[in-house]
């Protein structure tokens, strides 16, 4: 098959699966998940074929796989949409395909396929477990299958469609389409257990917060389209177009390219949960499973970073290579700030998924900061490595929670929160596969030197920041990296090490193979993927393995970016913060028995710097107040309708004035009644001659006749 045809086909199987499940098979759980997983497998195979073929092309950067069709007529021209796989696209497609396929597989186990239906389970709420009787007559409570199992797979399919569309798009508009479809899916999945008010509100919050970014992004797309007449990446990223954009002044003292990039970046801020639009992501953990959480956190939010990487030429169009432009400064600032900010919050969280959520925000901030200082390849590299190990961590946490739920069902104490790390402890013995894979993921996240992928990518970012002289960014990121290692170790220590702190933790169980297989696969990549991007300048190891990633992805750009000169300072820094953080984390939490002993439960951090409360106070409630009181009650009901309703009395007033002061006296009295009265008066006078006597009439007629005749004769004929 033609590669381009294949690329067109990649997003379709999951979409088809979505429609098939929704329309036809949603009653059959087996059929539904078969279709969904099969569709994911098809897309996965297609993606791998494309990836392999892409590797085989000499100058993929200059001659990517591309194909386009007419989509929207716009006056005399057409807006074309199409697919594009260039090196960046291929690299992203690779990790997207793997993670998505793993998610599908994992979901089968997580939602307890094959287990009996729950005793009291209802749609819209998490399953509560089912009572079964074994052959000895003992009753056990076992996990029950998710009541909306098929629906979950339908949503997953739609989500996969959105993600694939985003990746294979050759233009910003279809990228945005995929972007928004994922937004919808995140809404649907976060609100999957819509019966819980918290989940419902989190869903709305996620949608609305990202939509704030989206409308700016839409504006940026419109701006870009207006300014260049195209949204196709390859047409925008030509020298002339970029130059024209960079030299066009726009508003606020920025160039057109800078302003467009900023607007698009705000979209990313929403999607990738950067400060100040980060608030939705932690709440998104209300999603039913770590699976959906992972979808948001490890895959969809990556899309935001992917978009910025895609638009990197635009972002840097007016960059001279040294002084950061306004837009880049903003990007770098937000990235670096978010990286640190989120890391501090993560330290104080006790929910295993929330820690990971804040960690994700923080890591995305890393990538954004890297892009802000022009470190294109490093950002892309970290994007991909992060996707692997963060997916691993989320799935691992899902596995932990699943195991804990088993314990909860065993004891029957439903007040124990299976996600609270202080309820765990010592799980390494109960869930060995989960433990080891989680450990790998955690180390990768912390940037454990040499063996983990996280180390290489994070190191590259730090090296870039240092090498190009952005010391503020460097220091901030270094502190964030330290905190990352610290809270990661805290998490591992609290969850897996030590002794079980609760009865439930003692009865936790390892999860089925559908859940552990993805963990192993991802753990593999979390380690090895780092090796494809080791800088040539790295001491000893540099050059052993060619820096394939840099070569490959770097060629996406017209000018391949230079790798920074090697320096010991960033390397040592990253070694120190990673190892130091891990060590400190272990030491601090090694003996912590309960939450009250945790020194970092600072209210400010615990409450996420009160951002939710502040936003609620500053935006949400004023908006509702404005909508209800100003727009609806005051403007519409008060002013406009008041004006309209005033028409009634006004018209009536005018009418009664006319009636009382004109109609009644003038028309009625004087003219109407007056004429009648005059006639009446005359009639009264004249009726005397209406005697009814024929002879008198005749006399009268004759008199008249004679008078008129005489008058005529004398005055007319005779005259």
């Amino acid at each position: 098959m033609e590669t381009t045809t294949l690329i067109w086909l990649i997003p379709l199987p999951p979409l088809l699966a979505f429609f098939l499940i929704v329309l036809f098979t949603n009653r059959s759980k087996a059929l539904s998940h078969t279709i969904a997983v099969g569709a994911a497998a098809l897309s996965f195979i297609g993606s791998m074929i494309v990836f392999v073929r892409a590797l085989g092309v000499e100058h993929l950067g200059e001659h990517p796989f591309e194909s386009a069709i007419n989509w929207l007529p716009t006056g005399d021209t057409w807006f074309r949409i199409g697919v594009l796989i260039d090196p960046l696209g291929a690299a992203v497609l690779f990790f997207v395909a793997i993670t998505i396929f793993m998610i599908f597989l994992y979901s089968v186990g997580y939602h307890n396929y094959g287990q009996p239906a729950g005793d009291h389970d209802v749609k819209g709420l998490p399953p509560h477990g089912a009572t079964v009787t074994d052959e000895h007559g003992h009753k056990h409570v076992v996990p029950s299958v998710e009541p909306m199992y098929s629906r979950f797979f339908a949503f997953l399919g739609l989500f996969a469609f959105g993600m694939y569309t985003l990746v294979v798009s050759d233009n910003l508009l279809t990228l945005f389409v995929g972007w928004e479809i994922m937004g919808l899916c995140s809404y649907l999945l976060i609100g999957f257990w819509y019966g819980k008010p918290s989940a419902r509100d989190a869903a709305v919050k996620a949608f609305m917060t990202t939509r704030v970014g989206d409308v700016f992004m839409l504006l940026g797309i419109a701006f870009l389209y207006s300014a260049t007449g195209t949204l196709t990446f390859r047409e925008i990223f030509t020298e002339e177009t970029l130059h024209a954009l960079a030299s066009t002044p726009a508003w606020f003292g920025m160039t057109a390219s800078g302003l467009i990039a900023l607007l698009l970046f705000i979209g990313t801020v929403g999607k990738s949960a950067q400060w100040p639009l980060h608030v939705w992501l932690p709440d998104a953990m209300e999603g039913p499973t770590p699976v959906s959480a992972m979808i948001h956190a490890a895959t969809m939010v990556s899309a935001g970073v992917y978009a910025v990487i895609r638009m990197f030429p635009l972002l840097t169009a007016d960059w001279n290579g040294h002084e950061l432009t306004t837009t880049m400064t903003i990007v770098a600032f937000i990235g670096a700030f978010t990286a640190l900010f989120a890391a501090t919050i993560a330290v104080a969280q006790n929910d295993i998924k929330r820690v990971l959520a804040y960690s994700t925000i923080s890591q995305l901030g890393y990538m954004i900061a890297a892009l802000g200082i022009g470190a294109y390849v490093a950002a892309a590299f970290h994007l991909i490595t992060h996707a692997f190990f963060k997916a691993l961590l989320f799935l691992g946490s899902g596995s932990v929670i699943h195991g804990m739920e088993h314990g909860v069902l065993h004891t029957g104490n439903h007040h124990v929160d299976p996600q609270d790390m202080y309820n765990m402890g010592g799980l390494r013995k109960k869930m060995p596969i989960t433990f080891w894979t989680f450990l790998i993921g955690g180390f990768a996240l912390s940037g454990f030197p040499l063996v983990t992928a996280g180390f290489w990518s994070k190191d590259e970012i730090l090296a870039d920041a240092f090498g190009h002289g952005h010391l503020a960014v460097f220091v901030t990121l270094a502190i964030a990296a330290f905190l990352t290692a610290f809270y990661t170790m805290r998490q591992i220590t609290l969850t897996f090490l030590g002794e079980p702190r609760t009865e439930e933790a003692k009865h936790a169980q390892e999860t089925p193979w559908t859940m552990t297989t993805p963990l192993i696969v991802l753990a593999f990549f979390a380690v090895t993927y780092g090796w494809v991007g080791i800088s040539e300048h790295f001491p000893i190891l540099g050059g052993l393995v060619p820096n394939w990633f840099h070569d490959f992805v770097g060629h996406t750009l017209a000018e391949v970016p230079e790798a920074p000169e090697f320096s010991w300072i960033p390397l040592l820094t990253s070694l120190v913060v990673a190892l130091g953080g891990l060590a400190l984390g272990y030491l601090t939490y090694r003996n912590v028995k309960s939450v009250s002993e945790d020194k970092f439960q600072i209210p400010l951090l615990k409450n996420k710097y009160y951002f939710d409360e502040a936003y609620n106070f500053l935006f949400i409630r004023p908006a509702y107040w404005f909508a209800e009181n100003v727009v609806y009650k005051f403007l519409d009901k008060g002013v406009i309708d008041g004006f309209l309703h005033a028409f009634g009395p006004f018209t009536q007033g005018t009418g009664s004035a006319l009636r009382n002061y004109f109609d009644l006296p003038v028309i009625n009295r004087a003219i109407g009644d007056g004429s009648a009265e005059i006639t009446y008066w005359f009639g009264g006078k004249l009726r005397g001659i209406q005697t009814g006597r024929v002879q008198q009439y005749l006399m009268l007629a004759l008199v008249t006749f004679i008078v008129i005749g005489a008058a005529l004769y004398f005055f007319v004929f005779a005259a």
């Binding site: 819209g124 649907l188 819980k196 869903a203 949608f207 409308v215 389209y225």
Partner: protein
């Protein structure tokens, strides 16, 4: 067959009215017969307009299928019909929505004969506006459409129907007074009401009228037209009739009201205001854009503030139709540029799209209202498990209304935003500001749509609807059949819009 092919437009136009007259002779109490008869009668124009659609040649300039009959020779008015790409899409929308609305009203059992007859008359009125190429005929059909709608609201509406129907009637009548006067001015001036003739001569007309400069007259006449259409669209601040009328109207009435009647106003802008007053439109485009943005933003806010589900959807119409006018205003600013064409493409497609999604939304509100007899959002909650199919359909339609990419609303909203922002970037900077402010409306579109879904479907289940006599029943087959064509079109336009956009685009290129 030959007669039909030469008189296709008039057949489509008058068939519903004829059917309504035939209906007069049906027995009074046969509700079932009335319903099926009306449905069949409304399907005929739909089929014929499909024929029309496929025989229409979009690349040919000017009007097609023209027909002309003497109507009022003494004042130079004739029954002149014709369609171009612009009106064709609206005709298709009308003939599509009418059978759907009639099918949607199968649950009505009160005076079905009169109800169905009014609906068929309404269809003729609406189609007439879209087909008329004569100003007086245009005005006549414009007003004809009001009467059946008035009675539909007044007789079959809910509690506050008297107030709502009166407001609707007075408002639109009041708005169109100026239109009538302006139409008469044109008619007297040119001794004809033929649209093409007047369009050619009026925009270039400079001689003073009765000693008053033509520009003054034109300005006044322009505003007379604009206000008439703005009331119908409805543009802020002429919109307050709409929530009342929509809320009180019977379900199918709301569907048609939102689906087609609002389009009459926007169609008036496109068919009359822009061609007749290019200079004035350009001069006042800023004001128009301001009002459009106000409609978008305040419409969204207004919708967000509602606790009545139907009223929420009604306000969303204000919000969505604001985009249509924004596109028109942008096009008026920079007529002839590529930006303007994109904006107009978006505006016209938005008209079509809103027709689909708003009709769908109103129907869905009606479905739940019929079962629960309340529209108060606070009384719902967590109904999704009870009505999963309904919930899915509601979410789908809501998303179309929200402008989710992949569904139809996005395409048109994007084109409008792109067009008007392009006008802002390339010609008139203030449009960029307006577009940016309109984004606020887009944001709150999300807010109110999600609020609706959240309050109805999500959250803890309101047990009141779960058991016993109040038990909420799932959407039935007939209701699904009503929704299917709408949903198919919503998806189809969202994924592959060029089948309709191509027709619109060619018309836009030739017209503007």
């Amino acid at each position: 067959m030959d007669f039909i092919s030469t008189h296709l437009l008039s057949t489509i136009l008058f068939f519903p009215a004829l059917a309504a007259l035939v209906m007069l002779f049906l027995p009074k109490d046969e509700a079932k017969l009335h319903k099926w008869f009306a449905l069949a009668a409304s399907l005929v124009p739909f089929v014929l307009s499909l024929v029309l659609w496929f025989n229409f040649d979009p690349s040919q300039p000017g009007y097609q299928f023209e027909e002309m009959y003497t109507w009022y020779a003494a004042i130079g008015s004739s029954l002149h019909l014709g369609v171009d790409g612009l009106s064709l899409s609206m005709v298709l929308l009308t003939t599509l929505l009418t059978p759907i609305a009639i099918l949607a009203s199968f649950s009505i059992n009160d005076r079905t004969k009169a109800y169905m007859m009014l609906f068929l008359f309404l269809e003729t009125g609406m189609l007439g506006v879209f087909m008329a190429l004569d100003l007086l005929i245009f005005f006549v059909f414009w007003e004809v459409g009001l009467v059946p709608m008035y009675f539909l609201i007044n007789q079959w509406g809910s509690a506050n129907r008297n107030y709502a129907s009166l407001k609707f009637m007075i408002y639109t009548m009041g708005g169109s007074l100026g239109l009538l006067l302006a139409v008469q001015l044109l008619g007297v001036l040119f001794k004809t009401y033929d649209l093409q003739t007047i369009t050619e001569q009026w925009s270039a007309y400079t001689a003073p009228i009765g000693g008053i400069p033509a520009s003054t007259f034109k300005t006044v006449a322009f505003w007379a037209f604009v206000i008439a259409f703005a009331v119908k669209v409805p543009l802020w601040p002429f919109h307050t009739w709409l929530p009342d009328a929509h809320t009180e109207a019977p379900t199918a009435g709301s569907m048609i009201l939102a689906g087609v009647l609002l389009k009459l106003g926007a169609y008036g802008f496109l068919r009359l205001v822009l061609p007749l007053y290019p200079a004035e439109a350009k001069y006042f485009a800023g004001a128009l854009a301001f009002l459009a943005v106000a409609a978008i933003v305040f419409g969204a806010f207004g919708s967000y503030a509602q606790t009545d589900f139907k009223r929420l959807v009604a306000y969303s119409s204000v919000n969505h139709m604001g985009f249509v006018v924004l596109g028109i205003a942008a096009a008026a600013y920079a007529a002839g540029t590529a930006d303007a064409r994109i904006a107009l493409n978006g505006a016209i497609l938005q008209m079509f799209n809103h027709g689909l999604s708003a009709a769908g939304m109103f129907f869905l509100v009606g479905v739940i209202y019929e079962r629960t007899h309340t529209r108060n959002l606070e009384e719902f909650g967590g109904l999704f498990p009870l009505v999963p199919v309904y919930g899915g359909i509601l979410i789908f339609t809501s998303m179309a209304s929200l402008g989710l990419p992949g569904l139809n609303g996005f395409i048109s909203e994007f084109l409008v935003v792109r067009g008007s922002f392009g006008v802002g970037v390339n010609s008139v900077p203030v449009m960029a500001v307006y577009t940016a402010v309109a984004m606020l409306g887009l944001l709150f579109t999300g807010a109110y749509i999600l609020k609706g879904i959240k309050k109805v479907l999500h959250g803890p289940m309101n047990e009141h609807w779960a058991h016993g006599e109040h038990k909420l029943t799932e959407i039935n087959t007939r209701e699904i059949i009503v929704m299917v064509p709408l949903m198919v079109l919503i998806l189809w336009i969202g994924l592959y819009p060029s089948w309709i956009l191509d027709v619109i685009n060619k018309a836009v290129v030739m017209l503007f």
